[in-house]
């Protein structure tokens, strides 16, 4: 990899991209700063065309470069919700100009697909099993991450109050394993139909 260079056209694109990311993304700027004198650039944000990275020596450990970054799982989840439930398409579109009926129809696609994706990859269960509106008592040492006190928050435990929201806990989350060198930032590839 170290002796390879990017094609010129890609470099123009990359320079353009870097200009804006350096200006608006402080962490990216930091990484690029650190890479100025390094012997080799850190993970290039783009797989170098169809022939560059792929025709190189076979990666011995088959893991994605992007998976190493902290954003890997988040990108994976977004990509999953887009693939199964068109979530990114939905959020990217301006819904103000559409009727409730149009939004409703699109919401069915998003709801059905995202729900299926969520249930396949995570188990989400209520934090509290009581029905909302029930009176509950919290003794001393309750889990403050799992239960939030609202309203007149004062005094000492035990606290007596009304359950307003049951809360959600992800008791399992399993994302697919990433294999091969793919740019994980591509949440959905552009599609070009031939023929």
């Amino acid at each position: 990899m170290s002796t390879e260079t990017l094609p010129f056209a890609t470099r123009i694109w990359f320079a353009w991209l870097c200009l804006f990311r350096v200006l608006f993304d402080g962490r990216f700027a930091m990484r690029l700063w650190g890479a100025r004198d390094a012997p080799q650039l850190p993970a290039s944000p783009h797989v170098a065309g169809a022939d560059g990275a792929r025709d190189g020596p076979a990666p011995s450990a088959v893991t994605s470069r992007a998976a190493d970054t902290a954003a890997g799982p988040a990108l994976q989840l977004l990509s999953l919700l887009q693939r199964d439930g068109r979530l990114v398409d939905f959020l990217q579109q301006d819904i103000a100009s559409f009727s409730d009926a149009d939004v409703g129809v699109a919401a069915r696609v998003v709801h059905e697909g995202c729900r299926r994706a969520l249930f396949a990859h995570a188990t989400v269960e209520p934090v509290r099993s009581e029905t909302e509106g029930a009176r509950v008592t919290l003794s001393a040492g309750f889990d403050a991450d799992a239960v939030k006190l609202v309203g007149e928050v004062t005094g000492q435990p035990p606290y007596a109050g009304v359950l307003r929201h049951r809360g959600w806990r992800a008791s399992r989350i399993e994302l697919p394993q990433t294999v091969g060198a793919h740019d994980q930032r591509i949440l959905a590839p552009a599609e070009v139909e031939l023929g």
Partner: protein
Amino acid sequence: MTQFAVGIDLGTTHCALAVAPIPDAHQDSEPPHVIAVPQLVARGQVEARALLPSFLYCAHESDGPQALPWDANRRFVVGEFARTRGIDAPARLVSSAKSWLSHPSIDRRAAILPLGAPEDVAKVSPVEASRRYLEHLSEAFEAHFGGVALAKQEIVVTVPASFDAAARELTVEAAAAAGIERLTLLEEPQAALYAWTLAMGDAWRKHIRPGDVVLVVDVGGGTSDFSAIAAVDRAGALDLVRVAVGDHILLGGDNMDLALAHRVRQKLEAKGSTVDRWQHASLVHACRIAKERLLGDSAVDSVPIAIASRGAALLGSTLRADLTRDDVTLTVVDGFFPAVDSNARPAARARSALTQLGLPYASDPAVTRHLAGFLGRQAGALAEVEGFTGRSDGSLLHPTAILFNGGVMKAASVRTRIVETIDGWIREDGGAPLRVLEGADLDLAVARGACMYALVRRGKGLRIRGGTARAYYVGIESAVPAVPGMTPPVSAMCVAPFGMEEGTEAQLPPHELGVVVGERCTFRFFGSSVRRTDAAGTLLDDWRPDDLQELPPIEVTLPSEGRRDGDVVPVRLRPQVTELGTLRLEAEPVRPLHAGERWRVELNVRPTA
């Protein structure tokens, strides 16, 4: 070292893998569990799923390598991503390889799939596609058990009961090419029954008693397969015997989903919408889910279907229709499972259709008519079964219990329709209503049952007997003076009787066949799933057209060593059913040059000329 019993369901639309450790003599066996199979589910994303879709995507150069955790450079995809990527580029997708494997009018070892693919696609044969599915399962097994080789285990691979001798042989060939040399074949409906006994525990013996006949109705994604299994009393112990199997019917759940999608598509088009290929694929998928909801829950009358457009704009371009209970009842329940009389028969397929290149899909979509045909044709199936105490004199085969298998059977109203229809037939014929055997998982039963059979083969446990589901015959042209315009009449000589058990040989038939030295000699070949009493050597001059089905011919080539080219050597055919469960025919010269001289007779898998 053999540590595990492994069941492999090599299905038309899905594969599954079930495993159980082989216990020591004094231990109880653990129930088989299904191993989730790691597979690509999207570009660069691997997930383990219980089912491996039986699809092969021949990747284009631009797709790049299709890395798996155990192979960074793979150039093809098997499983879920193959299926979805295949919607994008359908010409590169191989599907239904198993149906091609049993297609009598193509060369099944020839690289023909995907049919009509562009030049740059490295095509594969139906055998090779099956090999890749088995290889993927084998790799998944090794990954799961940290390098334990699948090939060393006790392996059972399931095939449709209706698979003929050549299709079974090719399945074994695909397994061998995938490194699995040692395996046993098991009929899928039998596997489903094993899985049911497993799910019931010891209680199953309360549900099946001597005199019972279990009808297994297995409607998978692409095929329908029927079997009848009788419970008999043998020296005071219960014994199960598979007494009849149905024809190979290419008709399954996929046909039903397509029919529903077509119906919804018409509604959309009536409103002026157009549906492209991707939307059609989403529509089929949405219809399957909606169908399961409507047929599973009688309180739901209509399920909304929304199909997004291909572009990034979701709002304003999403198609919207409803699938109603009426749609599903008319299309699926009445369309595929109509209430018909017991004398109804499926519309016959024109013979010429077999010469076309394409799968010989069932020309009659009514599963119930195929069932009526099966029970009617097999009316005499119980007459010769030793130890059977139930009724065997009806005008159709009387099942006393029914076991469903396959995803389609998740729909309660489909199950009810089948039970009511068969009950009607039997009632007219003076029989008692069916009992429904419940409790097995409809998607994974076959893999689990196959694994259990692998355990049974190693130790104790009840084994379903039955042997080959057909008798086999060679055609012998009678020596009559030539008459212009008249083909000489053909007699059929039984070479392998019905019900030959694994690892057995039948008597050599007394009649001789003439084989020319140094030439490839082919003989017409027939199978019968109804003629149970013909011994090897029985000569039929005449038979009912339905009794014998012509199969691709068999061939034998006699080497020239020790004989003169062109000489005619009289031989007898020696039938054998191997331990694997495949039929093997050998030609034995009547006057051998040395003891034990014999030649292999090939079951032809090339198209009939």
